[in-house]
Subunit: 229 residues, 2 copies
DNA sequence: GTCTATAACGAGATAGAC
DNA sequence: GTCTATCTCGTTATAGAC
């Protein structure tokens, strides 16, 4: 009986994975706005109503794809961090940035899904938050290591930012000085901005040697969060 | 006869403007991927084939919207620059950044059109390049003023970035030291990244006081391109 | 209980004849 | 420019296979 349940559960997982895979293909071809359950079902030789056993609605399928993308990106970042665990924090920071860029170049449509324009009529539920936070936690962790180890440099907080900085630090980096909270969040957004510009074509005819440019920018981001060069 | 032609030209311009306005409304509701000439025509009480007198294809309408958006953003940036022409370069830089953010918050769907995910099946033609460059020229101009006036500080170029930096400087900032080229381009991408994160909801539950956070980040971007604080 | 298939709904897009 | 016939879509109700 447990075998039968195991087999059923396995089949269910396989079909779920096949649905998501087909949906990702559709994502690449038509974009998230046009993701359609019927087209996914057609590609799998299923009937559209059968998909509702696996995803209660089209939006739930989208949510699953978003969570998968965040997790895939987070995993790539964590692997890069672990591979560079012997290096000083600034080098580890750069390695993680390059891993994020590498993931984005390898998964452009999933990148667009999570960091591109919102899908009209869709609002990501709170269940996406933990997956979305993974990459942020990796970046915070590197700064934390530097704070507990070789040291962190930071500029004094301007008065107008102090309340917000203290709130941010209390929320997600209670053990770090509040001076680092805003630069960290800004560096995170700026990292994604750099990658998005490359991915979405804004660097065409502007930046040629993208690797060298990005490595340098990532290094300056590391400095901006207080990591010693 | 010249009167008649003038009236005709005026009517044509008015209808063109009405079409773009309706298309922008559609953009806000359905997204760029689903922009359809038919829906635009319906909203205007026209027949879809009549639109082809004004825009040869859906892609041409999209291109016109993109150029308009870049121009609108560029104008906002230029106005902010001119309004702050008495202020020191760093303050002018921040004023321009805040104007860009203000424009984005006021025109989120046009922002998504130019800086968000690419529209599947659409490739922006070269005719969009001059409009897209306007905002960049404003930022470069501020750095140029600082270079010719109060002075600019910059770090030495790492060897691996020198060829690319010299190429970039020769392309769009021949009168500036090559050391500033890469930081300028990076700051431009990072500025858009910051704004995109706020606009697309990544700062939900992370940044509360968005104005203070952004002003601080813009100030640090100014420093990153060598403007004295 | 778990799944797939059929059929249908209301809404909307689309192609082509006229 | 108009009309119609035929597509698409998400979603649900229902029936039946395993």
């Amino acid at each position: 009986m447990s075998t039968a349940q195991g087999a059923r559960a396995r089949a269910r997982q396989e079909i779920t994975a096949a649905i998501k895979e087909a949906a990702r293909r559709q994502l690449a071809q038509e974009g998230a706005a046009k993701l359609s359950l019927r087209a996914v079902a057609r590609e799998l030789g299923m009937v559209s109503s059968a998909l509702y056993r696996y995803f209660p609605s089209r939006d739930d399928l989208l949510t699953a794809l978003i969570i998968d993308a965040y997790d895939s990106l987070g995993e790539a970042a964590e692997r890069a961090r672990d591979a560079a665990c012997e290096a000083p924090p600034a080098a580890r920071w750069i390695a993680v940035c390059e891993a994020v860029r590498g993931w984005a170049l390898g998964h452009p449509h999933e990148y667009a899904l999570i960091y591109g324009s919102p899908v009209p009529g869709y609002a990501a539920p709170d269940t996406t938050v933990p997956a979305a936070a993974r990459i942020g936690l990796v970046l915070i962790g590197i700064v934390r290591d530097a704070h507990q180890g070789p040291g962190l440099t930071y500029l004094p907080l301007p008065a107008e930012l102090r309340p917000e900085a203290e709130r941010m630090a209390a929320d997600f980096a209670a053990d770090l000085p509040p001076e680092t909270a805003a630069p960290l969040v800004a560096a995170w957004a700026q990292l994604i901005g750099l990658i998005g510009f490359e991915l979405f074509g804004q660097f065409n005819r502007v930046v040629e040697d993208r690797e060298a440019f990005f490595r340098h920018a990532a290094g300056r981001l590391a400095e901006s969060v207080g990591l010693a060069p």
